[in-house]
């Protein structure tokens, strides 16, 4: 029998009210264990980034407590328990740093006073770059990389840091599909190694593809649990209100037999393109207007 994984992240009635009086999140409680990939889902402005910030100690919760592996946030950060992978837009790519410099920054917490890398640090950097398949690019200036490569460099930095909790902010924005697949594979391996991977995203389609837990937030926690039981149409409607493009294609829209099963398409910014049917006899169904035309 498997040992139950230790609790890595525990939020107890966490609320954040900014000095200007705006309450970003309130009364959020949940517990997550190692070996999990958890999606944090909500509309823009639902408090996803505030939640991230309070886990990383950027904002002090005005109420409630955050504990990481049983420790206060500050202590946990000092022990390098939390790694953070930023959104690509949050980084200035014109900085005169090479790929290996960025990954080495993940090791600063382990280094002495003058941040002089030891053999172990160099090894960790090499290892991290190899795991994301970027070892060949180590001498490149970061601005010369493609979107997917940039993301992989920052994942490598998180790996080099060796955090038990890895926070990812919209990891698949601007990333090619091949990188997305290889990153998902890597996240699965990391989860198997006991890490907790918390992914903030509004890319709904990617959630069932690689998360096993999900948190739905809109100012407060609406639902939490395994993807199969929690990531439901009903809960998503609660989380997104009228913010989602929503189109239900009933059996009669799709085919002439008596199958009553329906296809539901939910998306937020972009409209989805849905193909249905056999090769050669393909119907294009627009989930927006509902009209279906032949190509």
């Amino acid at each position: 029998m498997l040992q139950p994984s230790p609790i890595l992240l525990n939020l107890e009635k966490v609320g954040v009210t900014y000095p200007n009086g705006h309450t970003a999140i309130e009364n959020i409680s949940f517990t997550l264990q190692g070996g999990t990939i958890c999606g944090l889902v909500g509309v823009n402005g639902a408090g996803k980034s505030t939640l991230f910030k309070s886990i990383m100690g950027f904002v002090k919760p005005t109420s409630g407590t955050v504990t990481i592996a049983g420790l206060e946030v500050k202590t946990a950060l000092r022990r390098n328990l939390v790694s953070y992978v930023p959104q690509t837009e949050d980084v200035d790519w014109n900085f005169p740093v090479l790929v290996e410099d960025v990954v080495m920054m993940g090791r600063y917490g382990y280094m002495g006073f003058l941040r002089h890398p030891k053999a172990a640090d160099r090894l960790a950097v090499q290892d991290a770059l190899e795991r994301v398949g970027m070892a060949a690019f180590r001498k490149r200036q970061i601005g010369e990389l493609s979107g997917g490569q940039k993301k992989r460099v920052f994942v490598a930095r998180a790996l080099a840091q060796g955090g038990k909790i890895i926070l990812l902010d919209e990891p698949f924005t601007g990333v090619d599909i091949k990188t997305e697949d290889s990153l998902i594979l890597l996240f699965r391996t990391l989860a198997q190694e006991g890490c907790l991977i918390l992914v903030s995203t509004h890319n709904l389609g990617s959630v069932p593809a690689f998360c096993d837990q999900v948190l739905l937030v809109n100012k407060t926690l609406l639902a939490a649990g395994p993807v199969e039981t929690t990531f439901t149409e009903e809960n998503l409607a609660k989380a997104f209100g009228g913010m989602l493009r929503h189109r239900k294609l009933a059996g009669s829209d799709l085919h002439d037999d008596k199958d009553h099963r329906a296809v539901t398409v939910l998306t937020d910014d972009e409209s989805a393109l849905v193909f249905y049917g056999h090769q050669g006899d393909k119907k294009i169904i627009s989930p927006e207007g509902g009209g279906d035309g032949s190509p």
């Binding site: 990383m56 022990r79 939390v82 920054m105 006073f113 941040r115 930095r157």
Partner: protein, 285 residues
């Protein structure tokens, strides 16, 4: 001929001017590597102008000018934060508003008390007439700056590059930022006497900008920037002996000349290189 070239070194005031300028130039250049990456050049300008009333007041009260300048700088930074927080004004507006206010206040103070201080010396600088007490101040400030920057240059880079990550590895982000701006104020104070309040901005921008065009590694960029800053400052002071020209003007002109060279001929980011690769592409096509 050689005796003519060595002539400036036979005067004590020239010797002092040269090595003090080099020291200040190096410190400012170190800071410039960070300033230009964050787009904070205007901050340097604002700080240097804001400290003028502090210097004037310090002369009036007969306390070391560095103290007055320092408090004026802190007060200016504080005012900027306050105005920015309490209004919806954009940052450049706030900076422009606060630093001109402080600068005007400085001019006013001096004009009311015309004998107490030579405002020319603050605005335009006069390294050739620097007193020994002022040299001590400059040396102490520079030493503190170089020690702090030398110890924390990697931490500062981590903070400026990705603040969120810097926090996640447990760096005291807020403290490091405060340290940086304190050092910047202190360095601009030191540079006042060399090039004056008006040209300090060049000292904390140009060497970094030049080095940025020459390398992709931050460590190398700092070394190049410091070398450029020190050498141009020393050379400017040295040449001013022969040309009988303003030291500040010469230093900054030299720095700009080097920047133009890098702008044209930098191996990777120079204008000519860009042209050449463009030509190669069109020829291939």
């Amino acid at each position: 001929m050689i005796s003519l070239l060595l002539e400036p070194f036979t005067y004590e005031y020239m010797q002092k001017a040269i090595w003090v300028s080099a020291l200040v130039g190096g410190v400012c250049a170190f800071l410039s590597s960070y300033l230009i990456l964050k787009g904070w050049s205007l901050m340097g300008d604002a700080l240097s102008h804001s400290i003028v009333p502090g210097v004037a007041l310090a002369y009036l009260l007969a306390v070391p000018y560095a103290i007055g300048a320092f408090f004026a700088g802190i007060l200016a930074a504080f005012s900027m934060t306050l105005v920015k927080q309490k209004t919806k004004l954009r940052e450049d507006t706030v900076i422009g508003l606060v630093f001109t206010t402080f600068f005007a206040l400085g001019l006013l103070l001096v004009s009311i008390n015309p004998t107490s201080v030579n405002i020319q010396a603050i605005i335009l600088g006069n390294i050739l007439a620097i007193s020994n007490e002022d040299i001590y101040q400059v040396v102490i400030i520079s030493a503190i700056c170089l020690i702090c920057l030398g110890m924390f240059w990697k931490d500062l880079l981590a903070v400026f590059f990705d603040e969120a990550h810097a926090r996640s590895i447990g760096l005291p982000v807020q403290l490091l930022k405060i340290m940086f701006f304190t050092l910047l104020s202190a360095a601009t104070v030191a540079a006042l006497q060399t090039v004056g309040a008006c040209l300090v901005i060049a000292m904390v921008v140009t060497p970094g900008a030049t080095a940025y065009l020459l390398t992709d590694r931050f460590g190398k960029m700092i070394v190049m920037s410091v070398l450029l800053g020190s050498l141009t400052a020393a050379a400017g002071a040295y040449l001013s002996y022969f040309l009988n020209a303003s030291t500040g003007g010469l230093i900054v002109t030299l720095q700009t000349a080097l920047f133009l060279l890098a702008f044209l001929y930098a191996p990777k980011y120079g204008l000519l290189k860009a042209r050449r690769s463009l030509h190669q592409k069109t020829e291939k096509a």
